[in-house]
């Protein structure tokens, strides 16, 4: 740590000659934030993302054509799909692991890991993270956690299958479902390591933002990306330890006979010894992380979008301080709304009123953010690069998905749509699709910074438009099957003739899901192809204001040759009157006669 701190303050030109780098220190056990960002991107987003999305396509096939034989099931699921027909237990396992991978591995570790690591040092003007070593350990813990989660897919009785929320007693007792045996043990170990990885990363981000900003980079000159990453890290540090404690207590109940979450249970003809625990306690602990987690996923995406929308509108982000204030308000409120997942869990109805109140409050800063994005577009000169399309797409799905939150956050209305497909539609739009759009926007926008090459824009356009259409095609009809009364996590709805007329809607949804899946292959191809054969990038291809574009295209250890540039203005002087260009780098001094933008 002391070595790197000294590098950060080094004014000498020769800092990047300090280390002799071998293949292993450069590409594998690297402490360089840019390399670690790439590692997160490839493992967390591309690899885990591919698995998570592929799983969803498998269970979508089952939902559209229930209990039919598919060769893909035979190939990928083997004994769990006798003669190609999916087993109900493995359906639940697929749903569980899809949720776990997408929420934690792709949209938490993948998203924050990639962009916080890449952008925090580069946009605040630091040589590297505060601790390169902790950063490296954080990534390798994430690697270990991913490998354990993937290993759980090969356990004989199948991976964890109690839903990504792993409510006990289902997750605690192997007698209640096969997935709660070895699969659940591995799930818990994997997540415990994941939390450790996430904490190390978050602490590093917080310390770096507070301590290593370059001269002139005051907190209110930070780009909104950094504000979002910074606040996200704080929420993570506050809430992830609670998930860890829940996981540890669950491990105790499972393996050492304690009764934290279990009481009065009778399974397979046997009265179990557990007395006095409560599953509701687990729900409280889980959602104390689980709800802030939504914002851990979403805030970085919103930060990325703020930056990309401003750059490509050639306009300052509208209401910078209101944007910062709403990030802070969302972060605070996110820690006091968890009970809205538990309106009908058996907790005191009075608490339901309290959580309804806090939950609907969170809609206010969210609305402010949406309005500010829209106003940023007003009278802009919009450059429709693929990153810009995904950012506007995010605002659109954020509004559509967010609005139905007004229904779900109301304890009364939650009664009849709780745990139905309405919920699935809501959170996929507002956090799943929106955060993925933010992620894609970020990849298209910072690809030149990551790999020194440009992604193909035409493939980017194809990727966006097909994804945008299929996202609505999948999730819009889903609200209706939820309001028709169909509970989620049903292996098939053929057991209820009452739901027979929903079968056609399920087919429509699956067709759009397959289309969306195919569109992601275009992205994957574009990514890999551009990495190796893409056009060489200019230093500042999007004519952006932020500091990362003052660093050379080739990655060097320490980011800038020579002194770190100083910052003289905020990040959003786009199209400022009196300037020759429609952008002014943050590192450009205020000229004679120019007034610093009041924001």
């Amino acid at each position: 740590m002391s070595e790197l701190t000294s590098i950060s303050h080094s004014n000498h030109d020769d800092h990047h000659h300090h280390h002799k780098e071998t293949f292993i220190t450069k590409y594998i056990f690297s402490q360089d934030h840019k390399m670690i960002a790439k590692q997160y991107l490839i493992l967390g987003v591309l690899f885990m993302g591919f698995i998570g999305v592929a799983m969803s396509l498998l269970f979508r096939l089952q939902l559209a054509w229930p209990e039919q034989s598919f060769a893909v099931f035979d190939i990928f699921l083997g004994d769990w799909a006798p003669e190609g027909v999916m087993d109900p237990n493995i359906y639940l396992a697929l749903v569980t692991i899809h949720g776990t991978i997408m929420v934690f591995f792709v949209l938490t570790a993948g998203l924050s890991g990639t962009f916080s690591n890449l952008l925090i040092p580069l946009q605040i003007g630091a040589r590297d993270m505060a601790s390169g070593l902790l950063n490296m350990i954080s990534f390798w813990l994430f690697f270990l956690s991913s490998m354990i989660m993937l290993a759980s897919l090969f356990v004989e009785a199948g991976p964890a299958a109690a839903g990504w929320t792993i409510y006990p007693p289902l997750s605690a007792l192997p007698q209640t479902q096969p997935g709660s045996g070895m699969g659940m043990t591995l799930w818990l170990i994997s997540m415990a390591i994941f939390v450790a990885s996430s904490l190390l990363g978050s602490l590093n981000y917080i310390v770096t933002v507070i301590n290593l900003r370059t001269k002139g980079m005051s907190m209110f000159r930070l780009p909104l990306t950094i504000w979002a990453f910074f606040v996200t890290a704080i929420i993570g540090v506050i809430s992830f330890p609670v998930l860890l404690s829940a996981a540890l207590l669950l491990i105790m109940d499972r393996s050492f006979g304690t009764s934290f979450f279990l009481s009065d249970i009778f399974v397979q003809g046997e009265v179990l010894h557990y007395q006095g625990g409560s599953p509701v306690l687990f729900e409280h602990l889980f959602w104390f992380l689980g709800h802030p987690e939504v914002y851990i996923v979403l805030l970085p995406a919103l930060g990325i979008t703020s930056e990309i929308i401003a750059t490509n509108s050639r306009k300052p982000i509208f209401g910078y301080r209101a944007m910062v204030a709403s990030i802070l308000a969302i972060a605070f409120l996110s820690t006091v709304v968890w009970g809205h997942h538990m309106f009908i869990s058996g907790m005191n109805p009075f608490l339901g009123s309290v959580f309804t109140f806090t939950t609907l409050l969170i809609a206010i800063p969210s609305a402010v953010k949406a309005f500010n994005y829209i106003t940023t577009l007003w009278k802009g000169n919009l450059q429709f690069n693929p990153g810009m399309l995904f950012s506007i797409g995010l605002v659109s799905t954020f509004i559509t998905g967010g609005l139905t939150g007004i229904i779900l956050g109301d304890s009364t209305l939650d009664i009849n749509i709780h745990d139905t497909y309405f919920v699935v539609a809501h959170f996929h739009l507002v956090m799943g699709i929106s955060a993925l759009y933010g992620l894609f926007a970020g990849v298209y926008h910072w690809f030149p910074k990551l790999f020194g090459t440009m992604m193909n824009k035409n493939l980017g356009y194809i990727h966006f438009w097909i994804t945008a259409i299929s996202a609505y095609g999948v999730f819009f009809p889903m609200h209706f099957i939820g309001m028709a009364g169909l509970p989620r996590r049903y292996y098939t709805n053929t057991a209820f003739p009452y739901f027979d007329d929903l079968a056609n809607i399920n087919v429509v949804i699956t067709v759009f899901a397959l289309l969306a899946g195919a569109a992601q292959l275009v992205f994957l191809y574009n990514f890999i192809h551009s990495m190796f054969f893409g056009k060489k990038a200019e230093q500042n291809p999007w004519r952006s204001n932020t500091m990362e574009w003052t660093a050379p295209v080739e990655h060097i250890h320490g980011n800038w040759p020579g002194e770190i540039p100083h910052v003289h203005r905020w990040a959003y002087d786009y199209s400022k009157p009196g300037q020759d260009e429609d952008f002014v780098l943050q590192t450009t001094p205020i000229q004679k006669g120019e007034i610093e933008t009041e924001h």
Partner: protein
Amino acid sequence: MTLLLTLAILILTGVAFWQISKIFELSQMGRKKDDSQIATEKDNDLNGKLMFAFLVFIYAVTIYSFWSYSKVLLPESASAHGPAYDTLLWISFAIILFAQTITQAVLHVFAYKYRGINNRKAYFYTHNNTLEFVWTIIPAIIFFVLIIYGMVTWGNIMNIEEDEDALVIELYAQQWNWKARYGGEDNVLGDANVRFLNDFDGRNSVGIDSSDPNGMDDIVVTQEFHLPVDRKVIFKFRSQDVLHSAYMPHFRAQMNCVPGMITEFSFTPTITTADMRMNSDVVDKVNRINKIRYENSKELTANGEEALEPYQFDYLLLCAKICGASHYNMQMKIVVESEKDYEKWLSQQKTFSEIIQ
């Protein structure tokens, strides 16, 4: 067959993408070489117009969904608190649809209208405190009203007074079925615990404590349970193994069943099963379902399998909390009928003391 079809679709889509990208590449060749991969004026124009088209698409999907899928939604509520629930739902929906229509329009129209043109300078506009105050305060007022309205409704629904006249029923969940227990003559449920489940060679199916005299006249039923119309019912929920959720969508009612504790919900059924079967929405739905079942039966009988039985409407109790392999098939029929029919049905059931004899 569907497999082949799916594979064919996937392969064809793949080929289509490959071809489209080829066409894009070829179309670039003749022109002045611009491979900077940064949006040009032409790209801005095309994508700006597509943004407008996308707004039309969102509206079309919304209108189509409401027009075509509204008919699958739940029919008129069959409980006393249901109309209040439905009113709040549709008021919230009206607000949401209004906000959605306006904001999506503004977003996409701006995206279309301000699509980039070379050499045009954007308007430098950093903030406007009045504007921001206005659009903080307007949602705040709307949400405040919704919160108050919601809280009052919630308070009414969840306020379970132990009223003398109310019928007390226990819904008992286990992997993967439901049982219902009535208090019998005294309308009082006897004490129960999972410890007693193995008493009387397993005939004590919900674990009634045989030393509690209140339990001797209790009645436990499976498959279906009956409710008298227009009488308040207080439900007590128990589970013997994992979390379940007792979901009765037609009555706008749901509550989790938690091992180790007793949870409660209460409603008054207002429409008998027989009357609900006459409801025009239900009649339409049943006809639609039977048409689908008839079509599916043709395929089945062609393969030498049994045809599907025609469907008749019944109120349902479902499980809405993931609970293992047969979560998808954990159901019980609810029959709402006149007090007289209900009494008659109940008198035909065996009491606990009769069962354990």
